[in-house]
């Protein structure tokens, strides 16, 4: 909120620091200082971002002056003029003879206070008031309206002036009801805008119609005009949530609703009513009835808060004395009932944010000055931090992919497709939580082709795969893509092997074993295979991309190293090449051979594939080594004879 330096100064006998200085010092001890700006009439506005929990007392000059006084440790004047408190009001008639106030719901209308002013002369405001309002960007209307405005800014309590003679119900006895609106009830506000209300909203009404949207805006017709002579001064206190809802539903945000939404302290009505009445007498020539009609004049008491020196120092990390603590609390207006180590603190009635010891400790800390707090490393309780398997796995995957030339991307969770939907999306293209990473990753790779030959990308992130009445299923996925301009049919095998090779490298690093690849053609997803570990499906693979479920994969990692002494005997190797019909897979032939191999086999792999005249040739190499002896050629030939025999039995032709 922008605060007028001039207006604040009214509350102090001491000369306040310059706006910049004041802005900064209050910024360090109370509210963030957003800057200063020049205002009309030589004034300067200081913009402080009043904290949400202080909006109940500091969206006002009285509240802010008290805060400035506490920060600067100087005295302040709650009342701009002493005369306000010394005013004599009119005892020749009673407000209650003219008006009765009824409240429909005492929980929502916590307090309503009315007072009658007679002999009002509506006219221009004095120059000081016009200038003051202008300096904070408010236009002067007439003396009565300006007074209501002034009182709200000064005390934080919104007030309203009703033209008493426009209220229905005869000349001398009117009933004001604060009730729920009827569904569909219409009211035109004082700017001429019509609003349709519902039954959750409160209105201030006479016997015939709603006069005012309670806590939000006055209505047309009951406001003050040139002809007004009798004014009903009105100040109420409403439930903050109710006003917040009304203001939102109507999309009507006013200076009054802003204050009510932040919960105006109950005692503010008293401060506001006395200033309102004083100014009505001073500036409009009115006589204001001494009697106030009030639905809840007795304020509920507030509990004291127990605070100890030890707790205060322990939380802040300071060594303050009891006297220092008490003196800091007194600066914000607390009263302290002295005790030995612990004491009872009575907080200012309108400091709604002060509810327990921690709140008081904050007051002590910020006024003492956080700049005086030494940085201290904690010394207690060290436990060796664990590193989760998710953290380990994602780091291993990422590190290997980076060395293989992959770039990590992060895509947005919110998009136009998915199974989990938002009720309140930002826009139509961001209404769903992603259920896969691959699609977006492939698109990103395509975009990168504009400047990169073979963009290799990966992402590890959460996807949202299901939703029930009570929960949403979220899973860690890992997707990757090798971006290609166009993959011709005859290149597909080659590109797939590139993709598969990347995955195999990562699986090996993670210690994932027993991997099988199964053909799985899904036109929609564009996948051609599934990867299984120990028979469990861990993900889908396309020609040049993959998407793996990390949560499942984690179950199969075995980072433990099993050391095996290396053999000192020589290795012996053998090759076999075989022609097979074109529909036979490598895995099929490999399995056949594998069954014939002895335990001395240390390596067995495919090293060549070619196709010729409708036949395929696979060439395998196997390496043998014993831990206990040198293997002979005869031994190896013997093994190979078994392999040849097996292959021939299947009808394959050995090359």
């Amino acid at each position: 909120m922008n605060f007028s330096h001039t207006w604040l100064q009214f509350h102090f006998n001491d000369k306040l620091p310059t706006p910049e200085k004041l802005g900064e010092v209050v910024g360090l001890h109370a509210f963030e200082w957003e800057g200063t700006e020049e205002a009309p009439h030589g004034d300067i506005l200081i913009d402080w971002d009043v904290l949400p929990n202080r909006s109940s007392d500091c969206l006002s000059y009285q509240g802010m002056a008290r805060e400035v006084a506490a920060v600067l440790d100087i005295p302040y004047k709650k009342w701009v003029k002493q005369e306000i408190l010394d005013t004599v009001f009119d005892s020749s008639y009673k407000t209650s003879d003219f008006v009765t106030v009824q409240v429909a719901d005492k929980d929502l209308v916590k307090r309503a206070s009315k007072r009658l002013a007679t002999g009002v002369q509506v006219g221009p405001s004095p120059q000081w008031l016009v200038e003051l309002l202008e300096s904070i960007g408010q236009k002067s209307i007439n003396n009565v309206v300006d007074i209501t405005n002034y009182v709200m800014w000064e005390t934080g309590q919104p007030v309203h002036a009703f033209d008493f003679d426009t209220i229905a119900g005869g000349d001398d006895k009117k009933t004001i009801t604060i009730r729920f609106a009827k569904d569909g009830e219409k009211i035109t506000d004082l700017t001429g805008l019509e609003h349709e209300l519902d039954s959750s909203m409160l209105v201030i009404a006479d016997s015939e119609k709603a006069l005012d949207i309670a806590g939000v805006k006055g209505g047309l017709g009951s406001g003050v005009s040139d002809k007004t002579t009798r004014v009903l001064l009105s100040a109420c206190n409403f439930d903050f949530q109710n006003i917040r809802n009304t203001s939102r539903k109507l999309k009507l945000h006013t200076d009054a609703s802003k204050r009510f939404e932040n919960e105006v302290p109950l005692n503010k009505i008293d401060d506001a009513m006395v200033q309102f009445s004083y100014l009505m007498q001073e500036l409009t020539g009115a006589k204001v009835s001494e009697e106030i009609v009030d639905t809840a004049p007795e304020l509920p008491t507030r509990d004291t808060i127990a605070l100890s020196v030890a707790t205060t120092n322990s939380i802040l990390g300071l060594q303050l004395t009891k006297e220092e603590i008490i003196s800091l609390l007194k600066r914000v207006g607390c009263e302290v009932l002295d005790g030995e180590e612990s004491f009872a603190v009575t907080v200012p009635y309108d400091r709604l944010d002060l509810g327990f010891a921690g709140d008081l400790i904050e007051e002590v800390g910020r006024l003492y000055g956080y700049e005086n707090l030494q940085a201290e490393m904690p010394v207690e309780g060290f436990v060796l931090p664990e590193i989760s398997s998710l953290q380990q796995v994602t780091r291993t995957i990422s590190d290997i992919l980076v060395t293989l030339g992959f770039y990590e991307t992060k895509a947005r969770t919110l998009g136009s497709e998915g199974v989990v939907e938002l009720t309140n999306p930002l826009n139509a293209n961001a209404g769903f939580l992603r259920s896969h990473l691959g699609g977006e990753l492939v698109k990103k790779a395509e975009r990168n082709l504009a400047h990169t030959d073979e963009p290799r990308l990966f992402e590890i992130g959460k996807v949202f795969s299901g939703v029930s009445d009570t929960s949403v299923t979220e899973v860690w996925h890992w997707a990757g893509v090798i971006g290609k301009r166009k993959i011709k049919d005859k290149q597909k095998q080659e590109v797939f092997l590139q993709t598969k090779g990347v995955l195999e490298t990562v699986f090996a690093a993670l210690g994932v074993k027993n991997i099988t690849w199964e053909e799985h053609i899904d036109e929609e997803a564009g996948s051609i295979a599934t990867v299984l570990v120990d028979g469990t499906n861990v993900g889908l693979v396309g020609v040049n991309w993959w998407e793996i479920n990390v949560d499942i994969l984690i179950g199969f990692i075995s980072p433990k190293v099993v050391y095996k002494k290396t053999s000192k005997y020589p290795k012996i190797d053998r090759d076999v090449a075989v022609f097979v019909p074109s529909e036979v897979t490598v895995a099929c032939v490999q399995d056949l051979i594998q069954n014939e191999l002895p335990q001395e086999t240390v390596n067995f792999e495919l090293f060549d594939v070619f196709e010729k005249e409708g036949k395929k040739s696979f060439a395998f190499r196997m390496v043998f080594q014993s831990d206990v002896e040198t293997l002979s050629d005869v031994w190896a030939n013997n093994v190979m004879d078994g392999v040849y025999k097996k292959l021939e039995q299947e009808g394959y032709e050995i090359r």
């Binding site: 400790i361 490393m377 969770t413």
Partner: protein, 256 residues
């Protein structure tokens, strides 16, 4: 001997790169692990209780206005988490009792329009330390060490101002010295001449937050903090548009 031209460029070995957000999260994790903090994670779709109630943000509290929340269609009271603070409750329950030192980096969501400094999704890192006598002075100590290492500048200073977050009391706004001008340039576009940069929100854990995690608030106390990771990266490297992080453009990713 055969002539070998040693001035010819070496054969190119194509190496990729981590995303700067991941890199930064690692860096944060590694610094805090050295300080005895354990990295934890929590769900991105949270129930309302963990996201708000357990953090002392009661229903109808104006503080729920501070963050505009995405709600999930279907299950009741599920939201996209608006902060990583929801992990506080889960990790305290998991640990059972102090000493507790955790950090929780992760993705968070706010229902706000996209521009150069606002994304509907971004990353945060939560920090939490609870023990017998953990104080605001300890918070200052830990954060100061962190920022010195993170910004690789031993002269980095830290400043506390009052702040308000329902889950802490006292609540603190933390500033650090401007990494661009250190206060020397009155026209600096990073700190706007103040010499200070607002970097994170923190405070002493509110007793209600401890109690809701079954940690006895009469016996234990601690601090919590939450920082925006994109913001740290933008400040550290001078990135000026938050949307660049999500484009997946290799020339952007390559630089870090």
């Amino acid at each position: 001997m055969t002539f070998i031209d040693v001035t010819r460029p070496g054969t190119k070995q194509e190496k990729g790169n981590l995303h700067i957000i991941s890199k930064t999260i690692r860096e944060i994790e590694d610094i805090f692990v050295r300080l005895g903090f354990e990295a934890q994670e929590g769900p991105e779709v949270e129930d309302e209780w963990h996201n708000f109630d357990a953090l002392n943000v009661p229903e109808n509290h104006p503080a729920r206005d501070m963050q505009d929340t995405f709600w999930i269609k279907g299950p009741e009271k599920m939201v996209l988490r608006t902060h990583t603070s929801g992990v506080q409750n889960r990790s305290m329950i998991q640990k059972g009792k102090p000493p507790i030192r955790i950090i929780a980096p992760g993705r968070v969501f706010r229902n706000e329009a996209l521009d150069a400094t606002h994304e509907a999704q971004f990353h945060q890192c939560e920090g939490l330390m609870v023990g017998d006598d953990i104080s605001l002075a300890n918070l200052k100590g830990v954060l100061l060490e962190f920022f010195k290492v993170f910004f690789d500048n031993n002269k980095t200073q830290i400043r506390f101002r009052p702040g308000y977050f329902p889950f802490v009391e006292p609540g603190i706004e933390v500033d650090i010295t401007c990494m661009k001008c250190a206060g020397a340039d009155k026209t600096c576009n990073v700190c706007k001449g103040s010499g200070w940069i607002e970097i994170l929100g923190a405070g002493m854990v509110h007793p209600h937050v401890l109690d809701s995690a079954e940690i006895d608030s009469k016996q234990y106390q601690g601090f919590a903090f939450g920082m925006g990771i994109e913001r740290l990266v933008m400040l550290k490297y001078g990135v000026d548009d938050i949307r660049d992080f999500y484009d997946g453009d290799i020339p952007f990713i390559k630089q870090f």
